[in-house]
Point group: C2
Chain length 679, copies 2
Amino acid sequence: MNYLQYNAGTGSKENWVVREAVFDPRYLGKCESIFCLGNGYLNVRSALEERYVGETRDLLVTGTFNRADETEVTELPNLPDITNVDILLDGKRFRMDAGTLQEYRRELDLQTGELSRHVVWASPEGNRVKLDFFRFVSKENEHLIGGKLEITPLSQEVKIGIHSGIDGRVTNSGAQHFLEGSKRVYEGEYLEMVSRTNQSGVTAAVHTTHRVFLNGKAQTVPALPVISRRTIENQMEIVVPAGETLVVEKLSCVHTSRDLAYEKLSSEEAAKRTAADGLSVLRTARQEGYDRLFEKSREAWRLYWEPRDVKITCENGFDQLALRFALYHLAIMAKTDDSRVGIGAKGMSGEGYKGHSFWDTEIFILPYFMFTDPGAAKTLLEYRYHTLGGAYAKAKEYGFLGAMYPWESAWADDGEVTPKLGGADVVTGKPIPILTGELEQHVSADIAYTVWQYWLMTGDREFMERCGVEIITQTGRFWASRLEWNPEKKQFEINDVIGPDEYKEHVNNNAYTNYMAHYNMELALKLIRELREQEPVFYTGLCARLPLEETEREISEKLDLIYLPQPDDRGLIPQFDGYFGLREIDLTPYKDRETVGTIYNDYNAEQINGIMVLKQADLLVLFYLLDDLFPAELKEKNYMFYEAHTLHDSSLSKSTHCVLACDLGLSEQAYRGFTRAPA
Amino acid sequence: MNYLQYNAGTGSKENWVVREAVFDPRYLGKCESIFCLGNGYLNVRSALEERYVGETRDLLVTGTFNRADETEVTELPNLPDITNVDILLDGKRFRMDAGTLQEYRRELDLQTGELSRHVVWASPEGNRVKLDFFRFVSKENEHLIGGKLEITPLSQEVKIGIHSGIDGRVTNSGAQHFLEGSKRVYEGEYLEMVSRTNQSGVTAAVHTTHRVFLNGKAQTVPALPVISRRTIENQMEIVVPAGETLVVEKLSCVHTSRDLAYEKLSSEEAAKRTAADGLSVLRTARQEGYDRLFEKSREAWRLYWEPRDVKITCENGFDQLALRFALYHLAIMAKTDDSRVGIGAKGMSGEGYKGHSFWDTEIFILPYFMFTDPGAAKTLLEYRYHTLGGAYAKAKEYGFLGAMYPWESAWADDGEVTPKLGGADVVTGKPIPILTGELEQHVSADIAYTVWQYWLMTGDREFMERCGVEIITQTGRFWASRLEWNPEKKQFEINDVIGPDEYKEHVNNNAYTNYMAHYNMELALKLIRELREQEPVFYTGLCARLPLEETEREISEKLDLIYLPQPDDRGLIPQFDGYFGLREIDLTPYKDRETVGTIYNDYNAEQINGIMVLKQADLLVLFYLLDDLFPAELKEKNYMFYEAHTLHDSSLSKSTHCVLACDLGLSEQAYRGFTRAPA
C-alpha cells in the first residue's frame, strides 16, 4: 500500500496525519475504509464527494439492525447518503480520473478527526481549477456531519454547478433495508428524508442544508429542489471568476428511533422525534456553520486524546502513527455509553461483517478499553449480559444447558445471526456453507475469560454481581453439558468444532477450545465456591435466579477429566486431533498476497481441511491468553512451527503473532508483525 | 443530440443504422435507451459492458410485476444484470473516459437487431488496444441474449482480465424487488442465479456462460468462480500478444415463472422449470455460439421486416431511418402473442413509467399494429379485456357504474397502479401529488374508441362478441353514471378532471374528455341497438351476463344533453371551462429545452393551473381522433392558437401536431414536427 504515506504530518502534526499522496481508483474501497470518520454513534465511510465506479457510500448507525428479507440475516442498514456532491464545471462533471490531476493529497488528521483533500485539476479542455474538501463527523454532537468544499477557478471564469442532497437509493450490496421515505424541503434550505426499515421498523431521519459563500461573503444562490425516487437534492449554479473562491458548506444530521435518547419512548413517539430533532439540530448548526462546528468537535477530540494518546519512542514515525491510527479507529467504532450495542467486527467502516459482534470484541478490543476506559469496557460487557437471552436459547436449541453465546451477535433480541452461505466452492460450484454459527463455540469461553479479566483489573463488584457471575457460571455450565465422554480414553472431549483457525472445520479436541472451555469451567467453579463461602447472603439470593448448585455439580464432576492436548516429543501441541498427520503443501503462493483467502482459488474447504495450513494459529492465541500455563520454550517451538504454516488470512492473526514473538524475545519478528498487522 | 448520426449506413445498410459517433458520458442514459435491444419478451437497456458513473443497467421482462414494498406501486423489476463485463488490461480497468479514445463508433443495426461498438483506445500509459463489442437479444429464441468481445492489443502484449457474470445487486432506483437468490456454477462453465420477487413471487432464472477464443481457436482458460452477495461471476486471465485477437463470447438466457409457456403450471412448478429450462437452453446455445445464434436471430428479423418495412421517398435519409427506428422500438416493446401483458409507456427500455400501460397504447401505438399486424392489435386489446375487473372495481370505488379503466395498468389483477407522489413542488418543498390516477379519466373512452377502430378495420366478429361489446358498452355505462347535471344550464357536464394536457388539473368540461365520453356513449348505444335488432339470439345471451338494458337506458336518457364545448366568435374551442381567461406569460424560456418540464422550476402545479400554457394540446388530439366532426377552418385556427401555447413537454405531443399540420396542408410545420417528434 505504498500509495499511502502513513508517516505524514510535521511539527505539532508529526505522526498524526494519514496521507494518501496519489489518487488511484483501484484503492477506492481501501481508502474509504481507512479514512472512515465517526463517533461511535455513526460512521461515514469516506467515499469521495464526486462519484466513481467502484465506490461504496456507507452511512451506518449503531444498533439500527434490520433484516432486509427472509433470505438475509440482520445487519446494519446503509442509511441514505449525504456524502455525494456532484460538481459541474462548465456543465461537465468534475472527476479526478479524467483530465489531469496536477496536485493531489488526501489527509486524515487523527488528532482533530478532520478529513481533507487538496486538488489542482485541469479539465480535458485545460481549464485549471483548485478544489479543497473538508469533512468531519462531530465528536461533540454525535448526530452531526460537516462538509465543506472550496472551489477556485485558476485559469478562467467557471460556471459551477452543485447538485447535492440526500440519496436513499444506496443499498447494502443490493439489499434495500428502507421503505421509500417521506421527502420534504423546508424554507428552500433544509432537505429532509425520513424512512423506516422494512422489518425492524427503525426510523431514520436524515437532514441536510447548504451554505454558500463567495470570497467569504454569504451568497443567496437560488437552489432548485429536485425530488426523485428515493432522492432529494438542491441544484445550484453560480459563475465564479478566476482567482475567486466559492465555498459550499454541507451540514447534515442523522437521528434514528433507536437512539439512546429515545430509549424510553414508544417506537411511534421515537419516530416522530427523529424528524423534529433533526430539523432543530440542523437549524442551530446552520447558524454556527462548518468552522465553528468543527472547532467544537476538535475540542472534543482534544479532550479525548489528552489522557489516551500512547507515545512511543521509535525510529520510524510510522510506528507512532500506526498506534494512533488504531486508537482512532477504536474511538470511532465504539459507542461506549450504550450497552444495547456491541462493536462490529469491521467497526462501522463498511458493510463487511454486517455490524455483527464476534469474539474480536472480547479478545482483541476489550483489553484496550479495560486499561484506558474501564467504563467503556463495562458497557461492552453489559452488551454481552443483554444478549444472554440469545445465548440461553442457542444452548437449548442445540440440546445443551447454560449459555452458549452466538458466534455473531447483533441487536440483543436477535440471538445467533451468522449467515449460512458464503463464497463459491471452487470444486462444486456451489456457495460454501458457513458453519461458524454452529461450530465455532469458543466465543462463550472468550467472553467469560474477559469478564474475569475485567474483574481482576477493576474490582467492579457491582458489575460482577449484576452481570459477571451469571455470564461466567452459565457459560461454564454450557461447557459442562457440551463435553463428550470418550469411554475408551476415559476423558471428556469436545468434538466437531471450529477453532479460531477457520480453515479447519469439524475438528475434534481443538486445543484452543478445550483449554479455554476448561478455564471457563474452572472460573465458574471457583466463583461459585468463593461466593458461597465469602458472600453467603448474596449467594443465596443469587441461587433464587441462577442454577448455581447444578452448575457446580455438573462442572465439578467433569472438570478434571477434560482432555487438554499435550505436547508431543517435539514439544509441539497439536491444534486438534490428527493435525500433525495432515498433508504438507508449498504455501508460498498463498503467503503475503494482496488479498486474503487466495488458497480458496485452488482448493475447496474440504480439501483445505486436509492440508497443514492455518488461517491463524490457535495455539498462539491460547498462549497469549493463558500465558502462565505454558513454558517459554514450548511456546517458542510452537510459535516457529505454526507461524510457518499460517497464511495470516484473518486480520486478527498478525497481532497475536506479534505479541507472542515479543514475549519470546523474537524482536525482529515481533516488529515485522507490528508493522504489518492491520490496524 | 448532434452526437448521434441518425443517417448512418451505406449500401444495403443505408438508413438502417443508428450511429453514435462520439462517446460522451453525459448521454449515457439517452443512448442506453435509444440503443435498447429486445424482443417483446425481454428488453436489455444498452449500458456499455464496462461500468460508468451514471449508467443504468436494466433487464426487464414483460409481465413480471412486483410491488417492492407497501410504499411503492407495482412495477417491472430489474432482473440481475448480465451486460456488465469488467475488462482489465494489465490490471487496470478499461474505460473510455480515461486514456485516449482514438476511434469510436457505436451502431445499432435496425435490420438485424445487432448492437456493435468499435473502439481503438490508448491507455493513459500509451498502450493501444482495439476493442470490438457485439450484442443482440434473440428474436428467434426470446430467452437468449448474446454478447461478444474482440480484444486486439496493437502496441504490445497485454494481460487481459475478464470479470463477468450475473449481478443481482441492481435495483429499480434503490428499490430491491428480488430476494437474495440461489447461486451456482455448473461444470465451471454455466453460472446460474435464481431469485424470486418479494411480493408477487415471480421466479427469475438467469444463466450465463463464456466461450473464449484466441485467433479463432477455442481456449480453455481457467475461470475462477467468485460468489459474493447477490453476485456470481467468472474471473479469467490470459496474456495476448500484440496483433492477436482474444474473443470472449458471453451467452445468457432468462426464464421467469410468468413466462407464457408456464401459464398452466402452478407457480412452484413454473419456478422449478425456469432453472432447468434456462440451463438446458444455455447448453444448446453454447454448442452453437454467438455467430450461429445471431444468424438465427437475424433471419427472424429479416422475416419480421419483410412485410413491415415502410419505405418512403425522402430527400433526407434521416426520415427513412427515423421511421424504421420507430418500427424497431415498436417491435421490441410488444409481446404480441401474450394478452396477459400490455405495453409500457416507455416500452421496456428503462424503469420510467414502471412498465405501466397508459392511453398511449390505444391512441398512439395500436393504429400501427391494426394496420400491419391485426393479430398483435387483438392481443393488446384482449389485455384491456383482461383488466376489466380492475375497471369495474375502480368505477365502484368512485361510486360509478360500468367500467372505469385504470389510468396506469400493470398485471391484470392489479387494477389502478398510478403512483401517488411525484417530484418537488418548488413553492411548498413537498412532493407533488400525482392526481392522474383519480382525475385523468379519458382513458376509458380511448380504449372504447380503439376497440371500435379495430372492429372497423378488421371486422373481427369473434373478438367483438367475446370482448369488444363488453368494453364499449360498459365504458359507455361508466360515462353515463359519471355525468353531472347542471340545473342552471340544463346540461350534463364532466367536472374535475385532467385531460391529456396534464398541466391543468381539476378542470371542468375538458373538451377532449367530454367529446370522447359522448362518442363512447354513442358507440355503446349504437352497438346495443344494432345487436338487439340484427343479432337477437346473441343479444339475449349477452344480456344474461351484461346489463345492456340498463346501459341503454342510462345512456339514452343523457346522451343528447351532454355539453360539448363549442367555438367562440374567434372560432376557438376552449380546452375547458374558463381556459381563455387564464393568464398569458412569455413561454419562450420553456420552449425547446433540453429537458421537459422546466416550467416547474419556476412555478408549482397550482400556479401553472392558472397560466395559459399546455403540456400537449387536447383539442388537436380530439381533431385527430374525431376527424369528421370539425371543419378544416376551425381545426386550423385552433391549431395555430394551441400550438403557440404548447410546450410539447409530453413525448406524445409533437406527433399529434405533426399529423394535424399535415391534414391541414401545413407541410412545413408538419415536417418540422416529424423531424422532432420523439420516435
